[in-house]
Symmetry: C2
């Protein structure tokens, strides 16, 4: 059965019946707007990401469940980067009329599974016919106390530059997928990224990061955003970039230069944050119980753009700074 025979309201009903009610939802799917109850004294954090077929994902190698998971994960990652607690989301879908209902069900299953894991509720959105591929737009709403929200603009000279997890796996996975590989650590990192929600939240609630961003465009580009926001420069050592054993082994095999993958490949969905050096013991303590590791790769400087230093002591000059949409 395809979407066309289900009809718009059949489609909405099919999604709505799978959503369980959540905290703070006075009215969810099925009215002109959702009615939500924010926590008293909190700032509301709102982020949107749009994913287009043929641009952000390729259905030839993306299982619908993972597409559902990833569509929400990329928004959760933005929320993590603000230090926010994600609460609710809206899903707008443009669907080709020939879309099979099984595809929709699997997509929604993945998304709602991810929503359950991170404690967020689907509260509304929009559905419409698309004449040109699948269109996904998600808006995620979260909250945090005003003095605990972390922006891109607070990095200060002398601050440590820290990253969670490992970099480059996702870009390697995409390259592998394009070469026909369908499994492995890197492919999983690309198709099913893990947003660093607990890490972002615990850092923010401990008041540690002076600035934070999620690594979606690649380390060089996203560090650049922090520097631009903070009016500062940065110096880091290439040898300190955390890479997975899988990455170190397979990137070279692929015939690709591993450095651009790790520095500019994008879609790592790790957190990049800066913090005063005296915070380091607290950071180590926090990450002792965290799902991901944390690594110091360099420090914020007063100016001078980004200096990426090779083991030889020379400055690394990248060809590209990150994914560019246009």
């Amino acid at each position: 059965m395809n979407i066309a025979s289900l009809g718009e309201f059949g489609l909405i009903g099919r999604i709505a019946e799978r959503v369980s009610t959540k905290d703070g939802v006075r009215c969810g799917i099925g009215d002109d707007a959702a009615a939500l109850e924010p926590a008293a004294g909190s700032v509301q954090l709102v982020t949107s990401d749009m994913l287009l077929e043929g641009v952000h994902f390729d259905l030839a190698y993306t299982p619908p469940e993972l597409l559902g998971r990833k569509s929400l994960a990329v928004n959760l990652s933005d929320m993590a980067a603000m230090g926010g607690k994600a609460r609710w989301f809206l899903l707008s879908l443009g669907l080709p009329a020939a879309t099979d209902v099984t595809f929709l069900d699997r997509f929604v299953s993945g998304m709602l599974e991810m929503a359950g894991l991170y404690g967020v509720a689907l509260v509304g959105g929009d559905t419409c016919a698309s004449k040109s591929g699948l269109v996904i737009s998600i808006t995620l709403i979260g909250e945090q106390l005003p003095n605990r929200v972390v922006y891109r603009s607070g990095a200060k000279p002398g601050d440590l530059i820290c990253v969670t997890g490992t970099l480059g796996d996702s870009a390697l996975g995409l390259a592998e997928l394009r070469q026909g590989k369908r499994d492995g650590v890197a492919v999983a990192r690309h198709l099913d990224p893990v947003p660093r929600c607990s890490e972002g939240l615990m850092l923010a609630e401990a008041g540690i990061p002076s600035a934070m961003i999620d690594l979606s465009d690649g380390l060089l580009a996203d560090l650049g955003h922090i520097l631009e926001g903070s009016g500062a420069g940065a110096r880091f050592e290439i040898s300190k970039i955390p890479c997975s054993p899988h990455f170190s082994e397979h990137a070279a095999k692929l015939g690709a230069d591993p450095l651009p993958l790790a520095l500019s490949g994008g879609e790592d969905y790790e957190l990049l944050f800066t913090a005063a050096p005296e915070c380091w013991p607290d950071i180590e303590k926090l990450f002792a119980g965290a799902p991901s590791q944390v690594t110091v790769i360099g420090e914020i400087t007063a100016a001078g753009g980004i200096q990426a230093v090779l083991p030889s002591g020379e400055r690394y000059l990248p060809d590209s700074e990150g994914f560019r949409h246009f």
Copy 2:
């Protein structure tokens, strides 16, 4: 110059520099999420609408400024239907790389003009390349006191069924546009709808409507949503449907049956609300100073679906109930 030569961050900067700061915006465009300060004690109302080229709009006859205005207007209309005060919005844009910057500038001008008129601030969103036409997704956030929010579910037998403005003009305008006409009252109603924000807000704040919805899918379909939400039926008289003089004159000329246009044409963006009969004097008083008229077309019944009564006393049986996406 096209979007590709501007680049993603050039594009975001070009939009951001035209946005003036607004109330309650702690952080707007340019971070991972917007940080907003809700009014204490309010419920947050959140609505999303997606507009796809070739489905919701045709660039052959839609000036970019009006597309910008309408994209926001349809969201403002949803907010009006909840009785909410619109405050902030996020704009996600999928743009073909060849899009001319002039098109973007004109689109943004129209949208920000509309935003200024209704006191809402652009606070974030997403931009990406689209390989298949223009994609617009807007999320609008507003607020209202919990006991003043109006849902679809409160209509009770005996309540009056009221509509603002006139119906059918937009559908007539669309038919005219498709026949090559480019101006006139109906074309303007289709390309540049006026959301009934002040009407929705004043009704809600006076505590008058038992249920409310905006007429986007057509009177029959949208009244159906209220009845479904409220577990009730409705009876109304076809002769009482408010139509503009332009509509009465031109619908027949067009060779179209005017009744389906007024009942099921959709995109009127008027408000349909129900209210206890004893509220009528207050409703009349409120609308004495309002931009639009208000008309009682019938009443809510205990059950029986929708009975649309013709002047002959016979029941009108529509071919179609409203716009269907699939």
